[in-house]
Symmetry: C2
Subunit: 345 residues, 2 copies
DNA sequence: GCGCTTTCTGAATGCGCTTTCACGCTAGGA
DNA sequence: TCCTAGCGTGAAAGCGCATTCAGAAAGCGC
């Protein structure tokens, strides 16, 4: 860009016949300016359609009013809910939110953080970026720590082992355990799990919690009953299809996310199995659409928007020197019609 | 931020024992630098965890590598699809994408554009920002035109009457007409429409097209058969509920967006009406989830990701002085199970 | 060995803005 | 009336970087 140069503060000052400093002060209202001068400056700015150059402002020590949010995919309903919350909180704080999708590529995640650092964003929010991978953790730390040292705020949604950051953590483990209790109480004894990549902490936590909840009823979950697939609708579809092809005796299937559950539901429908008559299905997250499925999905509701708001608030709050805070957000089991009580086999 | 100052190029230069200019050149590779010096600079930068200040770079004349995308709501699946396309194209072009939600508030839309101007973003993408409102058009033009004069690129998804910008336009009118033809061919003669705010060009176009398609079969759509509601799932639910409460004799309901159709479907289910046995239902957009509804939704498929890619490409391509281009993207009617042929009444 | 061109380097300039700093002005107290 | 505060103003410094410009070093032919 920059064919024709932009209108600058100097242009405004000249037009208003005042000094550059006065123009700046009139526009920002930081110091008292004689009212007739202010009028002149404002009028000139208006007339010239002046917009301050944010880069120059930032460089000259003005506040950085932008936060970056990095997620796997903005079009994932799970993140969509969170982003609503983030945006609302950001709006209140007068911040501009930059969203970026990594598509689960750790490299890209690092690259985006680096860009945000370069922009001197006032905060970086990582949503669900938990990989259980030593090398990645190191690379991430190598970006995050200098950023924090430079005064940048970082907050994450999810669990992080190594990073020293504020975080909002959905209680995946306890939520899944609670779901397991609900299902065993309905009489289910044989389960299958549709899992996302085991490298993700979210997946690991949910499976572990589910297992623990099951164990309380004396039910065991064999490794064989866990099918791993992509963390998407189609992944859920594929995993369910595999299960169907292989043959299984579970009365209830737990998909670790609602999005995967949707794929599973489609696969079941295609296979002529009806839910919940033939088999029960449960998900996790309670993204908005699942209540509109047929049957509406039993799931663990996470307060997604609230998650977003909280993480934003953590990032905005001034916490220099203080130790990192952790906000745990419990989930709530929502029983809908995709699961049903059965007679104990 | 900026507790402790950031590591600057000067620090790197000092550490590497070269001049600032040499350090800059070594890092950017713009000019040849003696290899041992380059090594030293790179090592120093690495060691100090140096990240260039994007503001300073921008101010000093470096390229602006960021584009802003403004939409109603990033969590709307319609936009989510588009954003995927935008991100992919941006990624190829090496651009950083800033997303923002206006929540259909014209004021906020203007504010975001202003912020993007201030950031000197290299391009601004407006997704579906068509209001039929003179005053808003004026305010928008007052932001957009100076931005363009300054060399900024602007491209939009949707129709714009007054703005002189490149645009990608889904063929709402023709798509809706095509849908109407399909439905009348199925034997439907009496329709109701669930509409969003009539101030939106998208809504207006779809209704008009639907009417035109109907007219070809000699069917008329009375104003009375159009229910206006919010452009959301709940809006669709409310509109359908109103229709049900009021009593109506349509055999087929057309919701102007899939999101609204989802709400309508829920309302019908709650009312004990089955789709398509009791009544047929059609939507528009073909957002991913609707194929997983029960019944899967008949709709008009828009190539959402492609829309996003195209609009990004328009914004990236250099088009100074050239006249604005319009890319029309046709929709395709997808008949699923939410509509069924009926005997002519 | 001399003068020339070719490379590469460092000092200095400026991007547009905020913010000190110092000065001129008016108002108030002596 | 004179002096001191106090308020507003303009000049200027500097934020971190890319880049121009001039000069130093190195390479070449004679």
């Amino acid at each position: 860009m920059d064919d024709r140069p932009h209108v600058t503060l100097e242009d405004v000052a000249r037009e208003a016949q005042v000094s550059l400093a006065t123009a700046s002060r009139a526009l920002n209202g930081t110091t008292k300016v004689r009212s007739d001068l202010r009028e002149r400056v404002l009028a000139a700015a208006e007339q010239l359609a002046y917009t301050p150059n944010a880069h120059a402002q930032a460089l000259a020590g003005g506040a950085h009013r932008t936060v970056g949010v990095i997620c796997h995919d903005v079009s994932d309903p799970y993140f969509a809910g969170i982003s609503r919350g983030v945006m609302r909180a950001a709006d209140e704080a007068g911040l501009l939110v930059m969203l970026a999708s990594t598509f689960r590529d750790p490299q890209r995640e690092i690259a985006y953080i680096s860009m945000l650092r370069a922009q001197r964003a006032s905060a970086i929010l990582l949503v669900g970026s938990g990989f259980e991978d030593r090398e990645w953790e190191r690379a991430l730390a190598a970006e995050i720590e200098p950023y924090q040292r430079g005064g940048g705020q970082v907050a994450v949604v999810s669990r992080h082992r190594t990073l020293r950051v504020d975080s909002v953590q959905p209680e995946n483990r306890e939520g899944a355990a609670q779901l397991a209790r609900t299902l065993t109480a309905q009489g289910h004894r044989r389960f299958a799990v549709l899992a996302g990549p085991r490298a993700l902490t979210t997946v690991v936590d949910r499976i572990r919690g589910f297992r623990e909840g099951l164990a309380e009823a004396g039910v065991e979950l064999a490794e064989h009953d866990i099918v791993e697939a992509a963390f998407t609708r189609d992944g859920g579809h594929a995993a369910m299809s595999e299960l169907l092809a292989r043959g299984f005796d579970a009365t209830c299937v737990f998909a670790v996310t609602d999005v995967m559950a949707m794929g599973a539901l489609a696969a079941l429908r295609e296979a002529g199995r009806s839910v919940p008559e033939d088999i029960s299905l449960a998900g996790f997250d309670d993204i908005p659409v699942v209540r509109d499925l047929a049957p509406p999905l039993t799931t663990v509701a996470l307060p997604l928007e609230e998650l977003g708001e909280k993480v934003m608030e953590l990032a905005v709050r001034d916490n220099r020197g203080k130790r990192s805070r952790i906000l745990r957000m419990p989930g709530t089991v929502v029983v809908r019609e995709s699961t049903r009580p059965i007679d104990c086999a």
